[in-house]
């Protein structure tokens, strides 16, 4: 059996691929692209919510939001460690993010304008991410699958705290309810876009499915999210942003309106509201941390030479 055949045998038998196994170059490249993009999304995703920590309406909400943002930082690190098993370094990863060769989820290029957005983001954005991540717990690359399992355990509070904000707002004053509706309206469609282009348009989809990097298609995952969200909007007593939404008895799913794909590609290609700001902020934070990294290296060198002298 050639290494290639052995690799495909494992994939087809549903076995995981581990870091030291032989794998096709394109499998490795594909994984590096997907896992790093996923990790960058966690890291950049801290910005829109981090922006509201100092303005949270109560100490309780502040503690919750702070914990959530902390979790996202942790998720970024799990994913960076997973992708590093494929032979790419942290410096290369950060460089690719900062120069725009690597992407992150477009949703984080939308601004978080109101407190209601903290509700909508937790509920819808984390909600959509969970649908995707639950599916990826079965991805074929071992370290990625294990990172997903760890992350999914931590995600559920993110969605629930967001929904709880929406419940509070929609049971509040008329102005609060309007704020909830406005946030839902602005984040609903971008959340659907998080699943990526239609399967027929997706450049990487077919091969990713063959290699079991992805286990369900973009459109199937999106349908799951649409279906589960209907009831959640109804319970809030808010209006559904999709006027074409209709139960389809035959399919056993909701039919839904067409996504504005021009907007999707526009934001991906750098013209979203906050693309430039997100990367600038990342570069600035990274540069401001330089003295810490320098101090750590100086400390390490000092300890090393002390050891050598003692020896």
């Amino acid at each position: 059996m050639t290494p290639e055949e052995n690799f495909m045998r494992k994939i087809e038998a549903g076995e995981k691929i581990e870091p030291k196994d032989w794998m096709p170059d394109d499998y490795r490249k594909n994984l590096i692209r997907q896992i790093s993009q996923h990790g960058h999304s966690e890291i950049i995703g801290m910005q829109p919510e981090g922006n509201w920590i100092t303005r949270a309406p109560s100490l309780r909400r502040k503690g919750i939001l702070l914990s959530k943002v902390q979790d996202e930082g942790g998720h970024g690190l799990y994913l960076y460690s997973a992708v590093e098993t494929l032979g790419i370094s942290r410096n290369e990863l950060i460089e690719a993010l900062q120069t725009g060769t690597a992407k992150y989820a477009s949703i984080f290029n939308y601004p978080a304008q109101t407190w209601g957005d903290m509700g909508a983001i937790g509920w819808l954005v984390d909600g959509a991410a969970i649908v995707n991540q639950v599916s990826l717990q079965r991805t074929s690359y071992g370290p990625y699958a294990r990172a997903m399992i760890r992350i999914c355990k931590e995600e559920s509070f993110h969605q629930r705290q967001g929904y709880e904000i929406m419940v509070t707002l929609s049971r509040g004053s008329a102005a609060q309810k309007a704020m909830a509706q406005d946030s839902l309206n602005r984040f609903y469609w971008p959340a659907l876009m998080m699943f990526g282009p239609h399967d027929s348009e997706s450049a990487h989809s077919a091969r990713s499915m063959k290699w079991k990097i992805k286990r369900e298609t973009n459109d199937d995952l999106r349908q799951k999210f649409v279906d589960q969200t209907v009831k959640q909007i109804e319970v809030l007593g808010l209006e559904h942003p999709d006027k074409d939404l209709k139960w389809n008895e035959e399919r056993g799913h909701y039919d839904f309106g067409e996504i504005d794909w021009d907007e999707f590609y526009n934001v991906i290609n750098g013209n979203g509201h906050a693309n430039r700001q997100r990367i600038e902020h990342h570069v600035r934070a990274h540069e401001e941390g330089e003295w810490v990294r320098e101090a750590m290296h100086a400390y390490r060198d000092k300890k090393r030479s002390a050891k050598q002298q003692a020896a």
């Binding site: 309780r60 914990s67 294990r146 509070f157 629930r160 705290q161 709880e164």
Partner: protein, 95 residues
């Protein structure tokens, strides 16, 4: 003649592809290669694993049980990090 003490190694086993390596025990060995062979003989006689890691015990840096209060108690007053802290309407509580 007293036997010379060999270094202690910790042994980790992956029982099936896709799972984490789990600590299963330790053994004495001359070096890493020998530790790996011993680990195979001692811990996988019934094909308990598909992959073994051995780590010199002295290379493991561990937190101290006695310090565990100050080490872990920052999470004690953050019940909101758990999903079930949030009470949601019944119809959507499966979220």
């Amino acid at each position: 003649m007293a036997t010379q003490e060999l270094d202690l190694y910790e042994v980790f086993l992956r029982s099936r592809r896709g799972l984490d390596h789990k600590h299963v025990g330790s053994l004495h060995a001359e070096d890493h290669e020998q530790a790996l062979e011993y680990a195979r003989d001692v811990y996988t006689r019934r094909s308990e694993g598909v992959s073994i890691w051995v780590v010199r015990s002295s290379d493991i840096c561990a937190s101290q049980e006695d310090d565990s209060d100050s080490f872990f108690d920052p999470s004690d007053d953050k019940p909101y990090r758990h999903a079930m802290y949030y009470e949601l309407p019944k119809a959507v509580d499966n979220m």
